[in-house]
Amino acid sequence: MAGMRRLELSEALHLGPGWRHACHALLYAPDPGLLFGRIPLRYAVLMQMRFDGRLGFPGGFVDLRDGSLEDGLNRELGEELGEAAGAFRVERADYRSSHAGSRPRVVAHFYTKLLTLEQLTAVEMGAPRARDHGLEVGPAQDPTPPPPAPEGLSQLYPRVVGVWVLGLVRVPLYTLRDGVGGLPAFLENTFIGNAREQLLEAVQNLGLLEPGSFARLKISAPP
């Protein structure tokens, strides 16, 4: 994706104070279920439909002065997803990648966290309540209106206290007989920042698809 470069975590952590850090997490769990009684679901992978009508991962901006990246990420997950997020903790071992953009200066850190299906389902059940609480409470009163959301890396309007998750969705990992329905069609949705690339990389590296099927996926990849 134009304007973004991958960097090592150590390099990212040494970027100056002019840089903002954002952390997001792909939560997933093995799922023994079968679609239509015959297509293995394999894993449940969570994404969310955001307030801006785009799909993304839960998480948000973190301030390194308040603690580690993981401290900030777990706090964001708690705010966005509610108390079910308290049942697990995303750690440094779950870290996957960092990508930096130049305008605005945001570096996005991506994590993947393996949960049990019970933990993941508990997150899904609690999410509507967490969302509506966020809607009622609203952001802290800020006399300066937030600037329009920059395209690219940032997955959150700056200066806003919380993100209003409109709904959690599961990513279909299978492909239907027509070769399009399922994951290929899902990838045609609108994603925020580099969430689509983060998803594809995780799906491949974590072995979430049926072995060998990633290569067969007829999807367009960005140049």
Partner: protein, 248 residues
């Protein structure tokens, strides 16, 4: 909230009109022969007094689903008219996902002929709930999803040919398992999420139905709908250009 008389096929189209599928009356739809498949879907919505960032009014929350095939749509599915009335079929399908909400003929909104070579007529129902009721439906949907997955759809006596976009779905049974609630913002400013939302991957019938329902239920003026749709189409075009290999 009253419903304005539907525009229907005879309405004049303004320059910035929203494209529509061919609409037919319920009577005409019931007269269609056995070669036609019937699908029933429900738009459940609630007035939402909340504000994004404390200033952008949400106006309404509309419940939609991420379907099994990775496309967005309304809750519902195919109904076999040899065994069920439209309403019974719809409630049966919704019962798999949405607890004890029951829709009636009073909630019927429209019938449209779908695009494509397969003969499918899509019936849309709409019911306004309170925000609390919508919330309860959402939560109950998560609970009942796994049951629906294990049980699977009932085997249909004769499956209609798989329609493109309907995937290799069953003759009957809910076609969505994962719910999300969409909040539509009045697009007074360009930062509204609705054009982005429209640029997602919908099962095409649902997109037409959503725009139609928002219009006839007076939830959004037609010019605004047309603007949002135009902006969404533009976004999709740009996204596609980015994904295609550069010609250098």
């Amino acid at each position: 909230m009253g419903r304005c008389p539907a525009a229907g096929a005879g309405a004049k189209m303004s320059a910035a009109a929203v494209p529509e599928l061919k609409r037919i009356s319920r009577v005409e739809a019931m007269r269609l022969g056995p070669g036609w498949s019937h699908s029933c879907h429900a738009m459940l919505y609630a007035a939402n007094p909340g504000q994004l960032f404390g200033r952008i009014p949400m106006r309404f929350s509309v419940l939609m689903q991420m379907r099994f095939d990775g496309l967005l749509g309304f809750p519902g599915g195919f109904v076999d008219r040899r065994f069920w009335s439209l309403e019974d079929g719809l409630n049966r399908v919704l019962g798999l996902g949405l607890g004890c909400l029951r829709l009636t003929e009073a909630d019927y909104l429209s019938s449209h002929l779908t695009e494509g070579p397969h003969r499918v007529v899509a019936h849309l129902y709409a019911r306004q709930l309170t925000l609390e009721q919508l919330h309860a439906v959402e939560i109950s949907a998560v609970h009942s999803r796994d049951h629906g997955l294990e049980v699977g759809p009932p085997p249909g006596p004769r499956a209609p040919p798989p329609a493109p976009g309907f995937g290799s779905g069953p003759a009957e049974g809910t076609d969505g398992y994962w719910d999300l609630s969409v909040s539509l913002c009045t697009p007074r400013r360009t930062e509204s999420g609705f054009p982005n939302f429209l640029s997602n991957a919908f099962i095409s019938t649902a997109k037409y139905q959503l725009l139609f329902a928002l219009k006839v239920l007076n939830m959004m003026p037609e010019e605004k709908l047309a603007e949002a749709l135009a902006a969404a189409t533009e976004k999709q075009k740009k996204a596609l250009e980015k994904l295609l290999p550069s010609s250098s």
